[in-house]
């Protein structure tokens, strides 16, 4: 387990060895803030909250996280470094966790860069900081779930473009399952409890609870299970 640290460090610092990381962070920031301002009506809403930021995040992550996760294993496969990595004295799980945690930390860094928005809200009004904290926590957990799936998919191919597309598609399915508009359509021909069940498989209902400031252990368990399951499959896929 102590072998996670060197993998984590290499991977995390690795982001900053290429300009791609800075481009990514800038896109992350402008897209989040831009959506909040221009689509979410951050000022017009005239309420002291970050609702207009968080409401778009499940959609934004759909593209941003596959972009960050596609390289995780594909690049190792293409460059042949995977052979180097797995002949070093570490387990597959060490490598999977080290890489995942590094990418997750990088995404959380991107998320943290939106914090000036929270400060602005605090300066203009009197927000409920508990709700804001819940939103950030939920967003971080949701990012972890998206990322774990993208890491798994990236281990299946040496082609980053394929990894990206697979990541978008799989995450899109999980966003759709919990999207109120989609669930509205389903209620037309399915019993309510079945629709509820389907919705609960998706990201949005669990994230929405966090964004409202509700910390329900079941929502933690949901994101935790998605991450654990995806990473377990990631280990299996690599050891195959």
């Amino acid at each position: 387990m102590s072998q996670i640290t060197p993998v984590f460090k290499r991977e995390f610092l690795g982001y900053f060895r290429s300009p791609v990381a800075y481009v990514f962070l800038i896109v992350f920031l402008t897209a989040s803030v831009g959506m909040a301002f221009f689509v979410g009506g951050f000022f017009k809403a005239n309420q002291a909250s970050l609702q207009s930021l968080f409401v778009f995040q499940p959609w934004l992550y759909l593209f941003l996280i596959p972009a960050a996760g596609m390289r995780l294993w594909s690049e190792e496969r293409r460059g042949g470094t995977i052979e180097l990595l797995f002949t070093l004295p570490l387990t597959t799980l060490d490598a999977v966790l080290g890489k995942f945690l590094a990418a997750w930390a990088f995404l959380i860094l991107g998320l943290a860069l939106t914090f000036p928005l929270a400060i602005t809200v605090g300066w203009l009004g009197d927000p409920d900081w508990g709700v804001i904290a819940g939103g950030y926590l939920g967003s971080a957990l949701m990012a972890g779930a998206y990322l774990a799936l993208c890491a798994l998919l990236s281990s299946l191919t040496k082609n980053q473009v394929i990894a990206f597309v697979l990541g978008v598609v799989v995450n899109l399915v999980l966003v759709f399952l919990g999207w109120s508009v989609f669930n509205g359509v389903l209620t037309g021909f399915l019993p309510v409890n079945v629709v509820d069940f389907i919705a609960n498989l998706g990201f949005i209902p669990h994230f929405d609870a966090f964004a409202k400031g509700i910390l329900d252990p079941r929502d933690f368990a949901y994101f935790g299970s998605v991450i654990a399951l995806a990473l377990t499959l990631n280990v299996v896929a690599l050891e195959r």
Binding site: G79, G80, F86, T87
Partner: protein, 240 residues
């Protein structure tokens, strides 16, 4: 030190390695010879724990790779074919990462190890250069430095002189010779002069099977007066 018994590996319905057995003792430099596609790399990948054999076993210092892969990996220095390395890192950053994974946790001992590896492989002038900008010869040395860094009792080198110019080849051979005292070394090649120059034993494989296992002198005695090349050609011509 390295003991290989009846190793078998299939890719689909093609048998890449077909019952290979041999032993390498400390002080031995085993020349692993064979035409391209004979199964040299595949055998090495099984010894170093990168891929699992379909049958047979490989043990290093009496430890079975299949049973304790991490323990075996910590005793081997491995240079995979074409010397993969993380191209975006500098030579020094890369070796520092390897040292950390190899268990040198204090930065002082790590620096010492890296310094020694850089010196031995004559990498000092390019230590701060990004690996992907290095010439083929330097990249190969980085692969060497990485394999030697922890002074392993076993060295597995897959085509260590491939793509080098004659001077570089000589340099690498000298390095292997100096490293071989008290160490078990396996190196694969399809260049015969290499074997003549440094190996204490020859194993020739063809289509996944060992066809010759003897000393270079005995090998030469097969056809007195002839060059090793012609003996090699006779033994492997069926493959062409």
């Amino acid at each position: 030190m390295i003991e290989v018994k009846e190793l078998v590996k299939n890719y689909g319905d093609k048998r890449a390695v077909d019952g290979v057995s041999f032993t390498v003792r400390p002080g031995d430099i085993l020349g692993f010879l064979g035409p391209n596609g004979a199964g040299k790399s595949t055998t090495m990948k099984m010894i170093t724990g990168y891929i699992r054999p379909d049958a047979g076993s490989a043990t290093v210092a009496d430890i079975d790779v299949a049973k304790a892969p991490v323990a075996v990996k910590s005793r081997i220095g491995y240079l995979p074919e074409s010397a993969p390395a993380y191209g975006e890192m500098t030579v020094q950053e890369f070796l520092n990462f390897i040292a950390e994974v190899r268990g040198y946790r204090s930065s002082a001992t790590r620096r010492e190890r890296v310094e020694l590896a850089l010196t031995r492989t004559h990498l000092l002038p390019v230590r701060r250069q990004v690996i992907e900008t290095l010439s083929k010869g330097y990249k190969q040395r980085v692969g060497f430095a990485q394999a030697l860094l922890h002074e392993p009792p076993c060295l597995v080198l897959d085509e260590p002189t491939d793509g080098l110019d004659p001077n570089q080849k000589n340099e690498v051979r000298t390095l292997i010779k100096t490293m071989s005292t008290d160490r078990a070394v396996i190196l694969s090649t399809h260049i015969l002069e290499e074997v003549e120059a440094i190996c204490t034993r020859i194993i020739l494989i063809s289509r996944g099977k060992v066809v010759v296992d003897e000393t270079p002198d005995a090998f030469r005695a097969r056809k007195p007066g002839a060059r090793l090349d012609s003996i090699f050609r006779d033994l492997t011509s069926a493959d062409a």
